[in-house]
């Protein structure tokens, strides 16, 4: 009986630890996204802009704006890094190769992102 209880408690602790790790991971992505959104200049009041690395081959641009009629516009763009170039998707299952200018901007944005975010993450990994 006590072994069963130990097993249950062990699993519960493991799940709780994993949940905490997921919360920190999520919060760090948001923190990075905030920094990433500021790479392109100040964000106007009422607007929201984020740019972040989702996984090894995916970057996300997220922008929310309210137009002159009060209509809210949300744009989410995924950048898919492939061996033959970078493709973007703004809809469901439609990918489009970047134009030369977009590709240059994307490249610069990623390099800037790394320059700004890596020192922050390095600092955070040394705080314990």
């Amino acid at each position: 009986m006590s072994k069963l209880l130990d097993l249950f408690l062990g699993q519960h602790q493991q799940q709780a630890a994993e949940q905490r790790r997921a919360e920190v991971y999520k919060a760090l992505i948001h923190y990075e996204a905030k920094i990433g959104g500021q790479l392109f200049g100040p964000v106007a009041k009422g607007e929201r802009r984020e740019f972040f690395c989702l996984d090894e081959r995916t970057w996300v641009w997220h922008e929310e704006q309210i137009d002159q009629f009060g209509q809210r516009h949300v744009t989410t763009t995924r950048y898919d890094v492939r061996p033959n170039g970078v493709f973007k998707s703004q809809g469901v299952d439609v990918y489009q190769a970047l134009s030369p200018e977009e590709a240059r901007n994307f490249y610069d944005a990623v390099m800037l992102y790394y320059e700004r975010v890596a020192p922050e993450l390095s600092r955070l990994q040394q705080v314990s």
């Binding site: 760090l28 744009t75 170039g85 299952d93």
Partner: protein, 144 residues
Amino acid sequence: MNYNHSQFEETREVSRADRDKIAPVATQRLNLVYRAAGLVMQIGPQTAAEYEQAHPVYATANPAMASYLQAESAPVNPISRHEVSQSVEQVVPYSAVGTAAVQEVEQTSTGAELMVDDPRAVHLASAQRDVADAFDNDNFHLAA
């Protein structure tokens, strides 16, 4: 506890216990961002069309990376649906939160649209919802 930006900006206000939780995840993110930026750097700022005309510059620049990228670009179904689903869940483990928040996704109206026979496309809709959900938390709303 709920983590927020100020705690990352000013870690002196964070308890030792919480700092111990943040550090390993920060290491994980740092490694991921390093690899992701490295991939972009390897490909360089060129479009797919330009790339088709050029030789794979990464093939000689970094053999290990070239091998990795070429394996990924194998023409026959390089990523199984199961593997893709797993990877999305691993990266966004909190995907069960909320409902879709993308109220409007503006379609690109210029340029040729490329339909790609990529298994990941199947999961794009759910992945986009996951991304949107990740931002559907008031604690982390980033509006100025």
